[in-house]
Assembly symmetry: C3
Homo-oligomer: 264 residues x 3
């Protein structure tokens, strides 16, 4: 997998795909910096007057509902419709799905109109999107992981897309394949918006690789390895963010190999 | 006070209270990072459709009018009403009160509907909220400090809340008690939004300590000590922000003691 | 020019002019930090209810259309009208002009109502604003640079303003003079929003120097030198941003001289 991943990373750096983000206020700056660092070109634009035109220029569309407001939903739907018409991959981040009805319903509304190439969320967000159809299997320690996997599979089938469940170990599924990404570091969730950064990087890799699950696997592996590289230098979450961006920018094939890609 | 403060900090880290922020665009990222670093869970959400539901999940509500817009005011009022109904502490930051009529009036409007647990601002903001009822006492060097204290006391009584006046020395009052926090560093105001960070940390401490003035004192002391720790390593305001977040994350009881808490 | 620049920088630090920014979500935090680091006082405010009052307090107004939305345009126009009435310099950043019709038309609309003191953009943005009146001169390697210069001159005459075309070498013109700023570093465009930071610093220098072209030249030179100083310490774009802010804060006359100001 190292060679494939390295090929994709080189393509991102050489082709510098435009990634159109309709995302939340909290992470716009560090998401843009992560996309630049990995070699892509970020653009943030959300006006309903221009999103169709902007999406049409892009290699991928990232939709993130983090600081959702009603007036942004139409822009998200318009951008997603444009992406579908033009075959541009959509990566969807259901931030906070399950926390409020507004968030959960907006996800159902948007995903029901246009299916994405990839959905990336944490276990509780993925389970919220899967809804009551997921049965928890008891109280044993593996119940949460099993429930998240069931939910991911359900979403993968419902929307014919790849699904990434982020966590200490990332789970990636589509209707046929399953991958785990074990790279990463416990300091990562202490930096706000690294999940949103992961979603954006999935967008960058989808722009150069038409196999969405593989693109997502590459992006999540890059996230995890850069997290490990950054944590080795960081003194806390402040310096973690700084080193993470530096690591993304400097990541080379040697580091990919040294950080032990999971053979599955 | 070290033991009490340390107890509160440990509770924040153990309980990880959800802090719901309706705050400004400038500081959303570093506020979220500061809340994560201190051990709390930040959420930023401002849609009127969901704020009541989100606030109901939270251990504290932080309202900050930094990049105010008319359509956010209803969301702020709704969130504050929910917090009052459920006994969730509200921390209010009147950014720029006094600079424009819109800001000052919005503060009066919001505070007049629901009184917060704590108001935190700089001297000019606190004086603007106190309005003409504050008499300046002349032109001697202590006039500004005296006027700010009078204003803080007036607000503390008007809203039956704690009031924090941030500055080189922070002044904290409620109707009965008064504290000064002398920790801090001159580089802190050169980092944008550390005042907003202070407000958010007051929220985190209010979530674990029902005595609002004590919670605010603990938060402002943590701010000041982390500012001192960060400044000792910083080469300017850029690295100051990074080291500040790292210091928040690593702060221990030894550092609290070494940094000479004011005995008052 | 070192003495003149140093004089302006000292004036910014001593007078701490208020710079009112109506700018994009991506860069609000690092723009505010850059303005603080250079010695100015940033304020971000965009509500139509208050922008006139806020602009009236400011030494310069910065308009940046990065994450444009329809409801912000009226606020921008109102702030610009206030600035014109009061002789407050306006710096305009046409982020993404040419990428969508909405952006290009909004620029024409705003600039047609009130001419700014300075327009700062990259070559493609400046050429988009100049529109069809710019003739490309062929396919030789200097064509792009020539076309951008023609466009800059056209805009400088159309709006009687200074125009900055940012790039590896910055081009600055008004109707009569032309300057090049060769300072800078290739890592700068890998940090999101350093162009927006440049625009904001032009605002800070315009607040203390009524000669807009000279003010812009000083700001762009400070940007370039701080970019060089930061790059010397940076390990990638993450640490570049941190060191850049530190460099702005610490910049001294010795460094200005050592970094070889272009004599033109």
């Amino acid at each position: 997998m190292v060679d494939e991943l390295w090929n994709d990373l080189r393509r991102v750096r050489e082709e510098a795909p435009l990634v159109h983000n309709i995302t939340n206020f909290v992470v716009m700056n560090n998401t843009a910096n992560a996309l630049l660092a990995v070699g892509a070109l970020p653009v943030m634009a959300h006006a309903v007057e221009e999103v169709a035109e902007m999406t049409a220029l892009a290699g991928a569309l990232v939709i993130n509902i983090g600081t959702l407001a009603r007036e942004w939903i139409e822009a998200m739907a318009t951008a997603m419709a444009t992406a579908r018409e033009r075959g541009i991959p959509i990566v969807f981040d259901p931030v906070g799905a399950g926390a409020t009805t507004f968030r959960t319903q907006t996800c159902f509304d948007l995903l029901g109109r246009v299916a994405p190439a990839v959905i990336r969320g944490n276990a509780s967000e993925i389970m919220a999107l899967a809804g009551s159809a997921v049965r928890t299997k008891g109280v044993d320690s593996s119940a949460a992981a099993d429930a998240a996997e069931d939910a991911a599979l359900l979403l993968a089938r419902r929307y014919s897309c790849a699904v990434v469940v982020s966590g200490a170990v990332d789970l990636l599924v589509d209707g046929k394949r399953k991958f785990l990404v074990r790279n990463g570091h416990p300091l990562m969730p202490k930096v706000t918006g690294l999940g949103c950064t992961a979603t954006a990087l999935v967008g960058a890799f989808c722009a150069v690789n038409g196999d969405s699950l593989t693109a997502a696997r590459h992006a999540m592996t890059v996230m995890g390895i850069c997290g490990e590289l950054a944590a080795a230098k960081a003194a806390g979450p402040g310096s973690m963010q700084v080193h993470f961006i530096d690591a993304l920018y400097n990541l080379d094939a040697e580091q990919l190999r040294a950080h032990g890609l999971d053979p599955r």
